[in-house]
């Protein structure tokens, strides 16, 4: 049992406010991912939870107990660093057993716990090696092993996969997800890679400039971004933004005028907008469909064939619009294309960047990874 609660937590370095009042609740056994662009404060927030940075104001609670004034080791957490931070002069075994040695655990007990962690991570044959004799992926596993041995209430990961090559990153991502299942532990994970966030999280916390932009399940952030920043940050390739003008607004949605003269009826709450107001229309590249004569059109500027899919970069009124099309499309650079979208897939943003709420919630919006597992079990 380990829950974490952040109440109006702030952090300032002199006059620089890095974390500006964060509220957050992490449930037991939840896999929470902090994501955001570099400098958004996500690592600082993690380090504050770890106790490596002090908290300027606000409360940190683990299982309801205030931990602000406890040292890093007393909080009962374990952290995996981006650089792994293995002790280079110790063997894998000593690296993993170091915390136990400091805690005065007997050598035989230490041995048992290290062996157990080594078994989970398949590190058995490497126990006598020093870190420099290990590959990147192995070092990563030792760093995780060092955390497991401590049997922490919460695992903290600070961009643990960013030093690995792409193939290994995918593999470790799967391993981490499996580890989460096996250990049934609460985990907080920091990354700037939204794919890692989407694939591993039960709950994503999107940070920007020291504030939480949105908290929600991956599917909720994808389908119901609260603002333009989250909409642009989650999803790859990035969401397209087009200028749009309100034609009419009502309980059934908002009718907007599109560039090129077309119109679209978007099913969002329209009570806050007025006729003639300038909005931004957001549509994800995978939700734009090539049609014979859609409301939108432009000229293909760049074409990237990925095999299964083709990315089209279409120039429209001087802006580049990204469009994911079928792998077998026969367009070439310079061709004129027409495209449209399903109104239910589009988003509208006001001038201050806030999204207009959808009239209908996406059926998968509250899905977490744990739900995925439950569904599988029922299926089996």
């Amino acid at each position: 049992m380990a829950t974490l609660q952040l109440n109006q937590v702030t952090k300032s370095f002199g006059d620089t406010h890095v974390i500006k009042g964060v509220d957050l609740e992490v449930k037991d056994r939840e896999f929470v991912v902090f994501v955001g662009p570099s400098g958004c404060g996500k690592s600082t927030l993690l380090r504050m939870i770890a106790g490596l940075e002090s908290t300027s104001s606000g409360d940190l609670l683990i299982d309801g107990q205030r931990i602000n004034d406890l040292g890093p080791a007393e909080r009962g957490l374990a952290m995996v660093f981006q650089s792994y931070a293995l002790y280079p002069h110790m063997t894998v075994e000593d690296n993993m057993g170091f915390s136990l040695k400091l805690a005065g655990v007997s050598a035989s007990e230490r041995r048992k716990k290290v062996d157990e962690a080594a078994r989970i991570l398949q590190l058995d044959p490497l126990l006598k090696r020093k870190p420099k004799a290990l590959s990147g992926g192995q070092r990563q596993r030792v760093a995780i092993g060092r955390a497991i041995v401590r049997n922490p209430s919460i695992f903290l990961f600070d961009e643990p996969l960013s030093n690995l090559d792409a193939a290994l990153r995918v593999q470790m991502r799967i391993e981490l997800a499996r580890l989460h299942e096996e250990l049934q532990a609460t985990m907080i994970y920091v990354t700037h890679d939204q794919i890692e966030a989407m694939t591993m999280a039960d709950k994503i916390v999107v940070l920007q400039g020291g504030i939480v932009e949105q908290v929600g399940s991956p599917m909720e952030l994808y389908h119901h971004p609260r603002n333009r920043f989250v909409a642009g940050f989650i999803g790859s390739p990035k969401m397209n933004f087009l200028p749009a003008t309100v034609r009419s607004a009502g309980t059934q949605g908002v009718e907007v005028g599109l560039p090129g003269g077309g119109t679209a009826h978007i099913p969002v709450v329209g009570s806050e907008v007025a006729e003639g107001q300038a909005l931004e229309l957001g549509v994800r590249p995978e939700h734009l469909q090539l049609t014979g004569k859609g409301p939108l059109s432009g000229r293909v500027s760049v074409l990237e064939r990925l095999g299964g899919q083709t990315s089209l970069y279409v120039e429209m009124d001087g802006e580049l619009i990204t469009l994911m099309a079928d792998g077998d499309v026969t367009y070439r650079v310079g061709d004129e294309v027409h495209f449209g979208f399903e109104p239910g897939r589009a988003h509208l943003f006001t001038a201050d960047g806030m999204a207009l709420e959808s009239l209908e919630r996406h059926p998968l919006a509250s899905l977490t990874r744990q739900d995925n597992r439950a569904a599988n079990e029922v299926g089996a």
Partner: protein, 294 residues
């Protein structure tokens, strides 16, 4: 004749083609650098070499025209040994230089730790200020220190000399350790803190083993500086605590200069530290370039 010349060039050509002009230029540069290096080394070493040689001459040979050919004798050495007990001075040197180094490290490791890992706005200024004390002429503080030593009964004691040497080397020892510590990735110490290490455990289990090459070379430098120090040892000691530098000096004054005896004494004084430096030179170079190669 022409034919012969033709064949010679023909056979020489492939051999020359084997080494490209660039490689040849590089080899020439290497040879030039080697000659230069040896030249500098010889110039630096010559006085020491001459001193060693002179130690094996008679006094008459020593003041005669410089010559490499003479009949070597141990006369000066026996004479020197009969006049003063070498081992007593040598022991003082060992105790004082190693003692002061140990003391300096004990004080400098925690200071450098706090400066490297818990810096404040004034850390850099403090370090520079400490180093700036090395720019003062020592004689400027001779009188106050002498008076202090007299009042505390430290004159001509090994304890007193150890304290002075510690203070003398502390700025450079702190500075060197600071640069070595700063090179250590912070993450490793933070990982240690997450694992439950307190400050002392952090220093003992992580910092010291990881910066051992740096600490060793700092210690070696401190030993050498203390061993070679003459100003304070001559002014603060007379007989009881006098180290080898005072031993050398004792052969230079009253009855005029006796080159052979002075050389013999000097050779004996520098021999231990020379051997010590030679044995540890690998460690020294490794430590001094520790940050550079990482």
């Amino acid at each position: 004749m022409t034919t012969t010349a033709g064949t010679t060039t023909a056979t020489a050509a492939p051999a020359a083609a084997g080494i490209s002009p660039a490689a040849r230029a590089q080899r020439r540069r290497k040879v030039a650098m080697a000659i230069l290096g040896w030249g500098v080394a010889l110039i630096i070493f010559f006085p020491i070499f001459w001193m060693i040689l002179t130690g094996f001459k008679t006094e008459a040979d020593a003041i005669a025209d410089p010559s490499l050919i003479f009949s070597p004798t141990l006369e000066s050495y026996t004479e020197v040994q009969s006049r003063a007990d070498y081992s007593k001075f040598a022991w003082n040197s060992v105790v004082v230089s190693f003692g002061s180094t140990l003391l300096a490290l004990l004080i400098a490791i925690p200071s450098a730790y706090s400066m490297a890992f818990l810096p404040t706005r004034r850390t850099r200024g403090t370090l520079l200020w400490m180093l700036s004390t090395k720019m003062l002429p020592s004689v400027g503080v001779l009188v106050p220190i002498y008076l202090l030593f007299r009042d505390f009964g430290l004159l001509d004691t090994r304890t007193g000399l150890t304290i002075v040497y510690t203070l003398m080397n502390l700025p450079i020892v702190v500075w060197m350790l600071y640069t070595f510590f700063k090179d250590l990735p912070r993450d490793i110490l933070e990982a240690g803190r997450m694992d439950g290490a307190g400050t002392l455990q952090e220093i003992w289990y992580l910092l010291l083993p990881l910066t051992l090459p740096g600490i060793a070379s700092t210690g070696l430098l401190s030993v050498i500086l203390s061993w070679n120090e003459a100003f304070w040892s001559l002014n603060l000691t007379t007989s009881q605590a006098a180290p080898l530098t005072a031993y050398i000096a004792s052969f230079s004054s009253p009855e005029g200069l006796f080159w052979a005896k002075l050389s013999a004494a000097s050779t004996m004084a520098i021999a231990p530290i020379l051997i010590f430096g030679w044995l540890t030179q690998k460690q020294m170079v490794r430590g001094l370039t520790f940050g550079a190669v990482k």
